[in-house]
Structure formats: C-alpha cells, structure tokens
C-alpha cells in the first residue's frame, strides 16, 4: 500500500528527541505487563513478538484506508492473544472483569494510574 507519511499527525517524525514514550497511561500499563510477564517466564519475548507481528499484519491487510493506526491497541490485543494461548487469562475472563468495572458508581476514578 502507498500511504503518505504522516507529517503533522500523531505519527509525524519529530525533529528532536523529545517524544513521550506513551501518549496515554493505559499504553504504559500494556507495555509494562508484556515486559513483566515475559521476564517472569509467563511466555518468551519471541512468542509475544510473533503475536504482535500477526496483529499488525492482520491490521494492515484489513484496515480501511482512513482507519487510524493504533500501535498499542494492537500490542494489547497481541498480549491478550498470548495470555489466552498459554491459558493464563481467557478473553471471557477479561470481558467479565470489564463488565464489573463498568458497573462501578459513576464518577469513580477508575484509572489506577501508574504512580501507585
């Protein structure tokens, strides 16, 4: 596919070193989980990397031209794929927990941010 380089948008090449590693807190949590789990031996890094490559490849063959590319969404999906494959956490368990979290009282600050 031929796509123009994103000169002004979120993937724009900056001219300095000053880019934040993560644009949203959940991205850093998804990153940290994958690294921690591989170091704890839940899976090897090549296994995670293969899952990430598969997710990226699938996105690139199916995504609509105007759909934004969200790298950490694919990272998170790859992590879920690997955890399901090794039998650590299933998709159904995540869905059930999400549902429970959604039922928290409105106004509850539901992001347990990375400072704690």
């Amino acid at each position: 596919m031929t796509v123009p380089l994103d000169i002004d948008g979120p993937a724009a090449p900056p001219r300095s070193n000053g880019e934040l590693a993560f644009s949203e807190p959940w991205e850093s949590r998804a990153f940290g989980m994958a690294v921690s789990l591989s170091e704890a031996g839940a899976f090897t890094w090549p296994v995670f990397q293969a899952a990430l490559i598969a997710r990226i490849g699938a996105w690139e063959t199916t995504a609509a031209r105007n759909e934004p590319y969200d790298y950490y969404q694919l990272w998170l999906a790859a992590l879920e794929d690997v955890l399901a494959a090794v039998g650590a956490v299933s998709a159904g368990e995540i869905a059930a927990r999400v549902q429970a979290l959604e039922q928290r009282p409105h106004g509850h600050d539901h992001r347990d941010d990375h400072d704690h």
Binding site: M1, T2, V3, L5, D6, P10, A11, A12, P13, R15, S16, N17, E19, L20, A21, E24, P25, W26, S28, R29, A30, F31, G32, M33, S36, L37, A40, A42, P46, Q49, I53, R55, I56, G57, E60, T62, A63, Y71, Y72, Q73, L74, L76, A77, L79, E80, A88, V89, A91, I94, A95, R97, V98, A100, L101, E102, H110, R111, D112, H114, H116
Partner: protein, 198 residues
C-alpha cells in the same frame, strides 16, 4: 482481529485495567516491579545513551573499531545493556553510504541505546515505504541525499537491532567527546537525519 472482536470495541484503558487486575490477583505480575520497568523507559532509557556511544566512537578510534565489530559488547562497555539489546549491530554512515533503519514487520528497536521507538518508526507508512522508496521518504523527512550516495535499508528483527553511527559533522574537530554528545539526535541514529554542527 477487528473482525471477530467485541473485545476490540471496548475501550483499551478498561481492558488494560481488567487485565492488570486479573494478572495481579493470580500473582502473574508484581505491580511494583512493573512500575519500575515503566518509569525506567519513561525517564531513563533513551537516545542520550546512544549519543554517548556515538560521541565516544567519534573521538576514540579503538572504541569505534570495537563498536563496528561487536556492537552489543562495545555498548555494554558504557553500561548500556538489557532488554532488546542482545544483538545490536552498529553500521557507519559515510559521505558515500547512508544506512537507514526500519522494522518492516513490527517495531524492533535497540532499546538500551535509543529507548522505545517513536510513533513514526512504528507507522505502517514509514515501514512499507522506506524499503521501496528510501530516497523519497528521507527527503520527505527533511534529509536530501545526493543521487550518488548509496542508501542501505536495514531491517531490524529479533536477531539484529541496528544502530547507525552517523557521520561526524565537519567543523566539530575541536569539540570534546562530552561536547559532541548533545549534537547526536535519535533521528540520526536511526538514519533519517544527519548530525548538524552546532
């Protein structure tokens, strides 16, 4: 992926939170250790490490030789090692040869010397186009190379993480290693820019 997934339609922040709770409850992650990993990449591990490697290579011919022979070992001499740094290969840019780095399949990158990759490095447009039309893409990114300069596109994998040793700019002969460090940019060490004299 987008096809089967009700999961993908749930906000990623919520899915991440759910997953982290489940993993913590099962003892599969240690939140304290995980916070340390994250803050390390947010604040410590970044292109400054690579800049120190480059400045040393520019000022110490023996070190430069060691770096080009065995990148991982030479980088470790300066105290930089660890995750995604096991197989770093340094390649030298010259007046006639220009190396530029990509990971066509995902986002492989030498974390110990450059930190985590910037958005554009992970972007599908960069990853596909830099291979097919490197001269055009580099020009779009602000680096015009003469036609006679040979461009070599280096595709990173889990087996090889490339680090570009940029050309030392003319007019910096009087500068010390320490003074050269701040001139070296992340983009120059990926090969999408040159280092400019101050």
């Amino acid at each position: 992926m987008t096809t089967s997934g009700s999961a993908e339609r749930i906000s990623p922040a919520l899915r991440t939170e759910a997953l982290e709770q489940l993993l913590t409850e099962r003892g599969l992650i240690d939140p304290t250790a995980m916070n340390e990993i994250i803050s390390d990449y947010e604040t410590n591990v970044g292109p400054l490490n690579g800049a120190k490697v480059v400045a040393k290579a520019w000022t110490d011919p023996q070190y430069r030789r060691r770096l080009l022979e065995d990148g991982t070992a030479a980088i470790k001499e300066l105290g930089f090692s660890g995750r995604q740094g096991e197989h770093i290969v340094a390649v030298e840019n010259t007046a006639t040869t220009h190396n530029v780095v990509v990971c066509t399949l995902c986002s492989c990158y030498p974390w110990p010397v450059l930190g985590l990759p910037p958005s554009w490095y992970k972007d599908p447009a960069y990853r596909s186009r830099i291979v097919r039309e490197p001269r055009t893409v580099l020009a779009e990114m602000g680096l015009e190379l003469a036609d006679e300069v040979q461009i070599i596109v280096r595709d990173s994998t889990s087996e090889v993480r490339w680090l570009v040793l940029p050309e030392r700019p003319a007019g910096t002969e009087h500068l010390s290693e320490k003074d050269l460090v701040p001139l070296v940019t992340r983009d120059a060490m990926v090969g999408v820019a040159k280092v400019e004299a101050p």
